[in-house]
Subunit: 384 residues, 3 copies
């Protein structure tokens, strides 16, 4: 018994089976098949390996972004000069990857909690409204907006009195030109650090560019594509907006930092590319076509005066900048390589099947080839 097993094992190791094949010497079939096989080979080598880099595995990065704005704005409204520094015009102040630069505002100073007439936004509606609802203490204007009404209506404004922060903000007219046109010259510094966890590669621009260069440079798509300092006006122009339009009503811009890296090359060649685009609405469309124009939010500064709580309300129009890190690293890996080769061999098999179909069903001498290729077991075995 033991002898038998060792015999079988030695047979298994010293033998080797290889398929028997028919070598068909037929020009037409030969050319067709070789062409199909060459095509498959060209696809596997050219497309999968060279073009799509099928021998590499891919990874996306975890990243961290920190921003810093610089620049001082200047306004002169009703003869009052003001200077706006970073602490005044960036929201939030701590350098997030998504932030807003104020470019225009409607200020309502000295608001207190008391009753006052509402601002009429649609004149005829207001007049009508004040007739019908003078005594109702609570009225629903639109979804989710409930005003505390006192029941008193004022004829001059055609609106009713409400309990609110008074005087009520009048945002019917947006300042034009925008008050902080000087924002065009602000600069934005982007610090971006990425890590590809699968490959253990960490990169940040700071490593590849020295401190002296950064202290002097300014981003330019052609001349200094690696400088991480951007002029706000350039960002707006590169994303296809007009600065004075976006500054007036606000808008959202995405700065895509694209780290597409081939880590088979030197890691130092792994450098970011910057793309700029408007995030909401098409900047080339007319204003009416857009579902929602502009970007604004309200912000209040609270203070006490004469022991009463007051606030200064700012309706801030600004450029919201989202820094979006997009990353794709590729590196040689044995698994995708062998998977590609293995499935390529499979497709080779498909080529043989196609050729066999031609040989056995389409050629005039198909019966001859069938006999060459196949050997039949006798049919009578089933009968007996």
């Amino acid at each position: 018994m033991k002898n038998q097993i060792t015999n079988a094992l030695s047979n298994f190791f010293f033998e080797y089976e290889t398929p028997r094949q028919v070598l068909v010497r037929n020009r037409r079939v030969g050319v067709v098949c070789r062409l199909i096989q060459l095509l498959v080979l060209a696809y596997i080598i050219g497309w999968v390996f060279i073009y799509e880099k099928g021998y590499q595995s891919t990874d996306t990065a975890v990243s961290s972004v920190f921003t810093k704005m610089k620049g001082v704005g200047y306004t002169k409204v009703d003869g009052r000069e003001s200077v706006w520094d970073v602490a005044d015009y960036v929201f939030p102040p701590q350098g997030d990857s998504s932030f807003v630069v104020m470019t225009n505002y409607i200020i309502t100073e000295g608001q207190m909690m008391k009753t006052c007439p509402e601002v009429c936004k649609m004149l005829h509606f207001c007049a009508l409204f004040s007739l019908f609802f003078p005594l109702k203490s609570e009225a629903k204007f639109s979804v989710g907006v409930i005003r505390q009404m006192t029941g008193m209506c004022v004829n001059e404004t055609h609106t009713c009195e409400v309990l609110a922060w008074c005087p009520i903000e009048d945002d019917r007219k947006i300042p034009d030109p925008p008050l902080l046109m000087s924002a065009e010259n602000y600069t934005l510094f982007i610090k971006n650090s990425i890590t590809f966890p699968l490959f253990g590669v960490t990169s940040n621009l700071v490593e590849s560019v020295d401190a002296k260069y950064i202290s002097q440079c300014l981003y330019d798509p052609k001349d200094s594509p690696l400088c991480p300092i951007f002029r706000l006006g350039d960002i707006v122009n590169l994303s296809g907006f007009n600065f004075s339009t976006i500054a007036r009503e606000g808008g959202a811009i995405g700065i895509v930092v694209d780290w597409t890296c081939n880590l088979d090359l030197d890691v130092k060649k792994c450098k970011p590319k910057y793309n700029f685009h408007g995030l909401y609405g098409n900047p080339n469309e007319t204003d009416k076509a857009r579902a929602s124009v502009g970007y604004n939010f309200r912000y209040a500064k609270h203070y006490m005066e004469d022991s009463k709580e007051k606030r200064t309300l700012l309706k801030v129009f600004g450029i919201r900048i989202d820094i979006i890190v997009q990353s794709l690293a590729r590196k040689f890996d044995i698994i995708p390589t062998l998977t590609a080769i293995g499935s390529g061999v499979g497709i080779f098999g498909v080529a043989t099947v196609v050729c066999d179909l031609v040989l056995l069903y389409l050629l005039p001498k198909r019966e001859f080839y069938k006999n060459m290729k196949f050997k039949y077991t006798e049919t009578h075995e089933e009968v007996s």
Copy 2:
């Protein structure tokens, strides 16, 4: 020599090899093998291609989210009426994808930096503590919390004096019902723009829905599943919470915007789906089972009064909303298609191997088939 090479080359091109095969006419083996082969074929076509769409490559999106709350809250505490607008109840104000809507608060007004007795949170412990530590100027209460103690202890409160913002906040009792129950009617507008970089497709809801529709609609899972305006009460209910519970102690809700798109179809069919779920703790669990209930943070408004710095401290209980964009786009791609076909052919090969095992080792006439399939080179060759 040259002749030889051209000869070999022409032979190579005009020849074509195809494996010789035995056609086994055995019903049992035939049926078994055909069934296995049909199963493999059904798997490749049905599962890999149709069900899992193995002919498509996939991509996830880079996205940008901007939110806007609307609505006015109203409180009447100790006879003092107040109105709360967006600038007062949304943190942070600038429309981030993650924000907090205040629904309840504990306010401590007029805090100044001076010494005052602590608030006693555990009565017996406090009395004990004031006996043992009356003269220590610095005491560690719990990890990381060091109070600056003056050494004076107060009998009425059973606590010692500390240097702190005084009066010290007393948060032992959370207002119930929550002060801003009106938050239920606030509305949330979500602006979401996504880009699939691999396929070069950009989409935002604004394009597929017109401005007029957005100005009127309100999200409803059945009737208007595409409307990007949500009532806060609906969001809370859809995520399985009870509004008055979550409003009292706070909580975190995730709004998942799901862009699962088949880009082989029309891009216009690529529309978001909204899912709502509580982020921490199971809303159906009892309060005790949860490791950490509620959501709150402290927020201070600083002001000057009589040349002294004071602040109003708000312990804010609120609904934290995280908008999470989840995306998966699929599009036809030649590489995964051919990889699937290639590895399918490989699995076909496995089917043949299984059938051969049956034929050569299990059938009674196995020796006969072995002779049909194999041709042996004489063993003596090794000997000679």
Copy 3:
């Protein structure tokens, strides 16, 4: 005709073709081939299946993070004692995944909008500058920074008057030691919830750790690697920084929460690992080598005094903490399993091709084997 089809169909189902093979009884070729085949088998089973878990499909999570700092800081500057609580030292206050803990600051109190001389940062340059630009009302200092100059220059400071928030901040000297060294003992609580959408698995630490444990524990890499409460000093040390250095000038630290889960095992084994690393610049490098040292931002508290708007400007130096969730779940899936098997069979085919090349071109008896393997169709067929 119908008879013919059913006949062909029954033939198809009851027949089965298997390739005819030559069993080469040659020790050298046999051993080589078996070894190659065993290598391929070992690669497929050992590497693809066991090591790389090729039978599993992968998914990354959507996650939500919420943080809470605890601790009180204490400063004594110019004899004035102050206490700093969470509302004072965390920016933003609402518990985001990215936030700043203030550890040092330069405070400029009582700033008003008026004219005052600038602070001279480079003495010689300032003197020169005040000579050349005394009458110019607007001067460009550096990219993006435009000062509104009055034209008056002051000899004592060697600078010119500007319209600005006065007194102008003097940030030439950073307080050393840092004012809030007590920040070392603050604690950070991280609440993290993740969902793997493909597998429908949701996890958060709160589920696997009970409330009582969380209320007492403190993270330690060895003893309590699952405790989500971290001492700030530990975080700084674990990321390779020196606390007093980073506290003085600020810095950025990434806390990577790593959820690498094998979902074929129990979901309860899916637990996070925490890694800490400095985000910008290498902590071991000298200060000069880094392109940009430190982390700071400016923050203003506005107030009214005597009906005039004033502000307290804080230049905040702090530790910015980014919580980065990195996730990879794996689970058995039939598609990658069969793809791996299929392409493995393909690579087996490559092994046979290699052996055939040895057999047919390298062995001395190659002509003999060629005749065994191949059967030629007569060449004259093409001629006739």
